[in-house]
């Protein structure tokens, strides 16, 4: 039970985002990604989630290779900048859909955990940004996968909810789960490590594998 990322490289539109990146997460551990804007934190999370292809390198999660897409994806849950909420549906309808789709049975418990009970029947478009964020994060908890990939999860959350969410991550890790979190604030997690990312500066050693950029034209 662990996540191993080795020599991972990713290029977008002919530009290298990160190169030869290696990272290890042990069970029960939360790793916080830090780095300046544009360092590739979001890209790394999306590559691990399988939303962006990597050019080279290997990712291994609990013995399942990244190339074994279906089995790999079954262990991962991802939360990006967008909350994947439908404004026309109520809060509980939104969450129930994800719970059904991911085959989860802890809907009520998660609703309570994220303090969504009192706004359960409100259409999502009447919710505040922070409430929508809570609903978006509740999806992570309801899908109950071993590896959580969180991209700036605390944006627009108040301090109390942030602390509450940190406790939820802690509980997830205490149960043997893993989390990789891109954030700029200190979440105050129990078992966390920081992984620094730097903006990639192109060097002569790396060949950019874009067929359209080959040759001097």
């Amino acid at each position: 039970m662990s996540l191993g990322v080795s020599n991972l490289s990713c290029q977008r539109g002919g530009r290298t985002i990160f190169n030869e990146l290696s990272l290890q997460i042990e069970p029960g551990e939360a790793v916080v990604l830090r780095g300046p804007n544009g360092a590739g934190k979001s890209t790394l999370l999306r590559v691990i989630a399988g939303l962006i292809p990597a050019q080279s390198g290997e990712i291994n999660l609990n013995g399942v290779s990244f190339n074994n897409r279906d089995d790999f994806q079954e262990q991962v849950t991802y939360s990006g900048h967008l909350d994947a909420i439908k404004p026309q549906l109520t809060v509980v309808e939104n969450l129930r859909f994800w719970a059904d789709l991911f085959g989860a049975d802890n809907l009520d418990q998660t609703m309570a955990e994220f303090l969504l009970d009192e706004i359960a029947d409100r259409p999502a478009h009447t919710c505040s940004a922070g409430q929508k964020r809570r609903l978006g994060l509740a999806r992570i908890a309801v899908t109950s996968r071993p590896l959580w990939l969180l991209d700036e999860p605390t944006v627009s959350l108040d301090t109390e909810t942030t602390a509450r969410f940190a406790r939820i991550i802690d509980a997830h890790c205490a149960a043997g789960g893993m989390a990789l979190i891109a954030t700029h604030i200190d979440l105050g997690l129990h078992t966390s490590r920081t992984f620094e990312m730097e903006t990639y500066i192109p060097g002569a050693s790396v060949q950019e594998h874009d067929p359209f950029l080959k040759g001097d034209w």
Binding site: K86, E93, F102
Partner: protein, 218 residues
């Protein structure tokens, strides 16, 4: 699977979903025809099958551009692609939901509009049958087109240009089946060809659309 279908139907029926839009558009387009070509009953009866079919075609095109685009914009598509459900199945269910909210109402209202165009009595059954068998193909071809244009800003027009030529075979045989019945001839050959075309489309387009969505996601 059922939860996705229910969700799609709910989204279409709530505000901004545009479920009634196609129906209203169909009504207005068909009602405009007598004003344009004049109230001559023979002329209307002659063009009724074609007008009804073209109207249904355009109406079902109307709400297609938001099929995947709204999901793409709010991040839902990312999460759907990570879910245990295969993208092919996702596309098929979304196309089915599109048909239930757009195609099915057209089938129901078409006989009433047929009356306003003086469609011969013998053709009503075949109008309903051909629309019922043909409109699913429109939704499924449209889903493939919508998947191709999901990343394009204001892709609605591009979608129409891509999809409308592909609607031609369904239009030819659908309208032909209806007009053959109107003339008292055997509409079965045209109907069977169109039904076969629909089955072919329903079987294949989910794969094409899923491929297009994967390309978009990457």
């Amino acid at each position: 699977m059922r939860s996705l279908l229910i969700r799609e139907l709910r989204l279409a029926l709530r505000s901004g979903g545009g479920a009634g839009l196609g129906l209203a558009f169909f009504l207005i387009v068909v009602m405009l025809v007598p004003f344009g070509v004049g109230p001559n009953q023979q002329t209307l009866a002659l063009i009724a099958p074609g007008i009804l079919w073209i109207g249904a075609l355009l109406a079902s095109l109307l709400s297609l551009d938001r099929l995947f685009q709204s999901d793409s914009e709010d991040g839902t598509l990312d999460i759907l692609s990570l879910s245990p459900m295969p993208l092919e199945q996702l596309v098929a269910i979304k196309a089915l939901a599109h048909w239930i909210t757009t195609g099915l109402p057209l089938v129901v209202i078409a006989p009433v509009l047929g009356m306003t165009l003086n469609l011969p009595e013998a053709a009503y059954l075949w109008l309903i049958a051909s629309l019922a068998a043909g409109t699913p193909a429109l939704s499924f071809i449209g889903a493939a087109g919508a998947a191709l244009t999901v990343g394009v800003k204001r892709g609605g027009l591009l979608l129409s240009l891509l999809v409308l030529p592909l609607y031609i075979p369904t239009l030819i045989f659908g309208a032909k089946a209806t007009s053959l019945a109107a003339d008292g001839l055997d509409p079965m050959p045209a109907f069977m060809l169109m039904a076969g075309l629909s089955l072919f489309t329903i079987a294949l387009t989910p794969f094409a659309a899923a491929k297009a969505l994967r390309t978009h996601l990457n």
